[in-house]
Amino acid sequence: MSLLARQYVRILGVVAAFGWLISVFSHAAEGEALPRIGPAPAFTLITQEGTRLSLADLRGKIVALTFIYASCADTCPLLTAKMAGLQARLGTDFGARVFFVSVTVDPERDTPEVLKRYAQAHGANPAGWAFLTGTPAQIRQVARHYGIFYKKTPRGDMDHTFLTSLIDHSGTLRVQYLGVRFDPEELLRDLQALVREKTRS
């Protein structure tokens, strides 16, 4: 290798190392990137407005997906209230870059009209939050794909698990929050991190 070539390699190495260090420090400052679990399972369901909505329609936005049902008296309202509180915190990103989707696990009772009333009662801004229903078979499939378990109790309530899934702008499932006791600040940070990631891309 000639002297000039060796000099070139050295300079390239220094530049590369510098870039790598900047990258490492910037990511350390932002926190570790969220994992990529895999493609988020697709679905097409009916919104509270009676229109069809597919996950694919939301491509380009960050999606927070929850499962609830309207007549749930105990835990679902806590989750919905937690999500509702994040709408304002997201500012102009809400609706434009971040979209909430709540799928009912009680499709027999939760018609679009019922879900619309539920959304209004919880202060959900329809510009960035859709409440979805479908046939029992469709709902069962979506819930199953996202790891939700539910069944009707003898009292007629729905016994179901809680899992909030964050899906990035490319349709990749990134992280899932178990239960409803998670820290909303952490969820907000993750949503904002995914928005920044989209902006960078």
Partner: protein, 337 residues
């Protein structure tokens, strides 16, 4: 000459690597796990069902396992001592169990691989008035279900940690756990160690008193108690199924903590007593699995076992030959809450 050449190549490789990393960093490109999560390689999964309910998450996980693509979820009823044998034999694919006997199996070269931790302490040592501390076990009679069972192995480790020689200093007697409870009441045995629902039942009936609670007392409370193990061949041939099954179990662990009544109902459906199941859900910190390090747990237990001659392998050998944390590490990041 060879060394010189090797050194020159290393530098090139190093610079080349730096160039790739640096360029990627500048451009904001980062390698990620982009691959799709495929369906499990098998739709059948076999777990164990033991008399204990500290492994509740794997009972609660049944529907979650179905959601992960396992249409055929089977539970094989075995005694606690048989757990490790059936996993090693490939009769069960994956299961939670107390860590120490898993380490014994790995030490023997049995093809078991540890995948991740689920919860810390569930064992409790109960004694009569004659036993106030672990050191009081010297010369006493202690009931265990079987020699080599989780109970026997764990109490041996605890006794050795307290300076006793578990083989010489303790008079071990074997009785099924249900028969041990009246023996403790009558003072025919001085102590017994039990895992849920036994401690809950002893407390409810006012039998004996707690000498040591592995969920509270250090150092035991600092490490996982029950850990998920699998047959090595199953993991090798079914990596996706392994991760999916592990995910269902840790998700179920959170469910046990956050919705104890529901979890207790599901456990009662499998034939256990609802009240004891509920107590267990409320007492064991099932939602802490993301906070503990399974490798440190293996190192801790393997060190204790190596010190007292229970295993020949070093802790590092046990970790190298009997653990695979990649799925658990991924799940610790993928699941929050």
């Amino acid at each position: 000459m060879y060394t010189q050449r090797a050194r020159r190549m290393s530098r090139r490789e190093f610079l080349g690597g730096l160039t790739v990393m640096g360029t990627a960093g500048v451009l904001g490109l980062h390698a990620g796990l982009e691959a799709a999560e495929a369906p499990p390689e098998t739709t059948k999964i076999r777990l164990i069902q033991v008399p204990g309910i500290c492994v509740a998450p794997q009972y609660v996980a049944e529907e979650l396992l179905k959601g992960e693509g396992f249409n055929d979820v089977q539970y094989l009823k075995v005694s606690t001592a048989e757990v490790y044998k059936v996993i090693a034999a490939g009769e069960v694919d994956i299961s939670m169990a107390f860590i120490a006997p898993f380490i014994l199996q790995v030490d023997k070269g049995i093809p078991i691989v540890l995948l991740g931790g689920v919860h810390v302490g569930c064992f409790e040592l109960f004694g009569t008035d004659k036993v106030r501390a672990v050191s009081d076990l010297k010369g006493k009679t202690v009931a265990v279900p079987e020699l080599g069972s989780s109970h026997h192995v764990f109490l041996s480790i605890i006794a050795a940690h307290a300076g006793l020689d578990p083989q010489k200093d303790i008079n071990w007697v074997t009785h099924p756990i249900t028969e041990s409870l009246p023996l403790l009441t009558e003072g025919k045995v001085d102590a017994l160690i039990g895992f849920p629902p036994v401690p809950q039942e002893l407390r409810a009936k006012g039998i004996g008193h707690v000498v040591l609670n592995s969920g509270v007392d250090s150092p035991w409370s600092q490490y996982f108690c029950c850990i998920v193990g699998s047959n090595r061949e199953f993991v090798r041939a079914h990596p996706v199924a392994t991760k999916r099954a592990l995910r269902a179990i840790v998700k179920a662990a959170n469910l046990c903590a956050t919705e104890p009544e529901r979890a207790a109902r599901l456990i009662a459906d499998k034939g256990y007593t609802y009240d004891y199941a509920l107590k267990t859900m409320q007492e064991i910190p099932y939602n802490k699995w993301r906070e503990y390090n399974p490798e440190e747990t293996v190192r801790f237990y393997a060190s204790r076992m190596h010190e007292v001659g229970m295993i020949k392998s070093s802790p590092q050998q046990i970790i190298a030959e009997g653990t695979d944390w990649r799925f658990f590490s991924a799940l610790q990041k993928e699941l929050k809450g």
